[in-house]
Homo-oligomer: 341 residues x 2
């Protein structure tokens, strides 16, 4: 068995504007250390997966920057999707790429831009072993520490020591529902990590997304076909909605690592407070709980709970509880300030 | 009678950091229009005083920028003080400069960096006429509109229609005292504008600052003396403390114009709200009462009562009621960031 990592690196990261842009998405930002999130992600898998078996799926806007940030990876390991069609097509592409190289593989699909610390290798290699021997799809669940309304949940029942049968996936809940999940137990945060043999996933594609898969099959069988032509006709659909919620082969293993999806500047502010990673030169006077990301001197006077992000052509000053509204800024400037996107 | 303007343009303006710097002081900033404060000041007097009679007193740090902002003025009308020695020496220099040119002059001494709108010419020319005929020193008082603790006050009694005899100058009062002044009447804000014949002021220098004046006299009498030598030995003293508070020749006329000394970013924020003069391109989302001064795009999300001032090498984010603490920032970075002063 050979373990492959397929890293989903196509996110837009509009919530990290003005630092994130169309060509500089969240995963290419260094938010917690000198390394960018994608570099941290590759380093994390590279400790137990050889570089030849690490595949990046991205798009035309981000490919140049990702290559430059990841010189360790062979250039043929970067797959460029012509259009954003959500996660199912990306995972289909990853499966086809891996089966063309190896018939005894297990794939771990990973987001490029999460913050993970702890026994990542242990969790993933155990999941891979389980997925390989049980011909199943193993998701990674995070034990909830609070009634979080910003994450999807996995509802699962234990079948053996570290493996649970998934009964259903739950969308982002209301606070009331999230509290109920926390009280009931058996509900885990969906970390967006999936482990499976490509042949198993391909069989599920044939079963649950047959039209999409036949178009992929035609593309693979034809030597002349272009990926752009394929992507112009396939539907945009998530792997969760298209396969995971329908498949009877889905299991879950609890993460033995700490996990954060780094969903907004507010999360970065909270995490940096703990980590004391400072990216700026400046001064606080009578100020509390402010996060600053800047490459120049910043003085903050008499302020609380602010997020201050400075770039050469745009500045954001945002109260922390409004961090989700940074998306609104990006929406609003689409018509007026294309150069800032 | 010829009217001369002597504009005091040597202020440091540390309260307007990071826009104001040692070489770019407050009076050289465009805070309320396309014109800088010194340009507004010169324009204001130039409507009734010829350019040859407008004198700027400044220092070596600011002279280059002031010349470039005021191409209308003859270059010999810029006087450079070698050291900052407060206002009395600057006014002595102005008097000596004017008497060397004209023996039938009246001088109006003006701060370079105040905001004035209304019947300025009317007030000043009437004051000049009074100062000329009564051989007196006329100050301009502003009728208080609130119990302001940030200004000095003039306590005066009416002697004729628009002229009052000054009984005393009061330092910045406590709130309680300021309220009492407002209730009592006869107390006016000291606008820092003085009108007098240079011969009258010179007589008062001889009387109240004889040591300083004799040093000035030696300097004028000697062809070889350097201003630097003179300034290295004279005391630093304000005209208010050195002469105005002691002289029996001091009168006051009420300003027939609106006046603001623009003491901090908070005042700029308040004044801009009224004037709706916007110096930036940006976006407010769920934000109220924020002032932004920047040359790039700024998004303010979920914030209230902030002052945001962006420059290429330094950024200030300050809660409006803490605007006086901007001076503290400048103090604190003196040892660590000389390049930002």
């Amino acid at each position: 068995m050979k373990l492959y990592a397929v890293i989903m690196a196509g996110g837009l990261g509009t919530r990290f504007w003005p630092l994130s842009r169309q060509t500089v998405p969240k995963q290419t930002l260094a938010l917690f250390s000198e390394k960018t999130l994608i570099q941290e992600t590759v380093d994390r898998v590279h400790t137990f997966i050889p570089r030849e078996q690490i595949i990046i799926i991205t798009n035309q806007f981000q490919i140049a920057l990702l290559r430059s940030q990841l010189p360790v990876l062979p250039s043929e390991n970067f797959i460029v999707e012509p259009y954003a069609k959500n996660t199912a097509p990306a995972i289909a592409l990853g499966c086809l790429q891996v089966v063309s190289k190896n018939t005894d593989a297990v794939i771990v699909v990973l987001p490029a831009d999460h913050l993970i610390t702890g026994a990542f290798e242990k969790t993933i290699t155990a999941a891979a072993q389980f997925a390989y021997t049980h011909e199943s799809i193993v998701t990674v669940g995070v034990v909830p520490s609070r009634p979080e309304t910003g994450y999807g949940y996995i509802y699962a029942d234990r079948v053996e020591e570290n493996f649970f049968k998934v009964k259903s996936f739950k969308e982002k809940p209301t606070l009331e529902t999230a509290k109920k999940y926390l009280q009931e137990g058996n509900h885990y945060w969906n970390a967006g990590i999936f482990v499976f043999r490509p042949e198993v996933m391909i069989a599920e594609f044939k079963k649950f997304l047959p039209k999409m898969f036949s178009l992929f099959q035609e593309y693979v069988d034809s030597n002349a076909a272009h990926l752009t032509t394929l992507y112009s006709v396939i539907d945009a659909i998530s792997i969760d909605y298209g396969i995971m919620e329908k498949s009877s082969l889905v299991y879950m293993t609890p993460a033995e690592f700490s996990w954060n999806d780094v969903g907004s500047w507010e999360e970065v502010a909270l995490l940096n407070k703990k980590d004391a990673y400072s990216q700026f030169d400046g001064l606080f006077i009578d100020s509390t709980n402010c996060y600053v990301n800047a490459k120049k001197f910043v003085a903050v006077v008499g302020c609380s709970n602010l997020i201050i992000v400075d770039t050469p052509d745009a500045l954001l000053v945002c109260e922390q509880s409004h961090a989700q509204d940074v998306k609104k800024v990006v929406e609003k400037i689409k018509g007026t300030h294309k150069e800032l996107l």
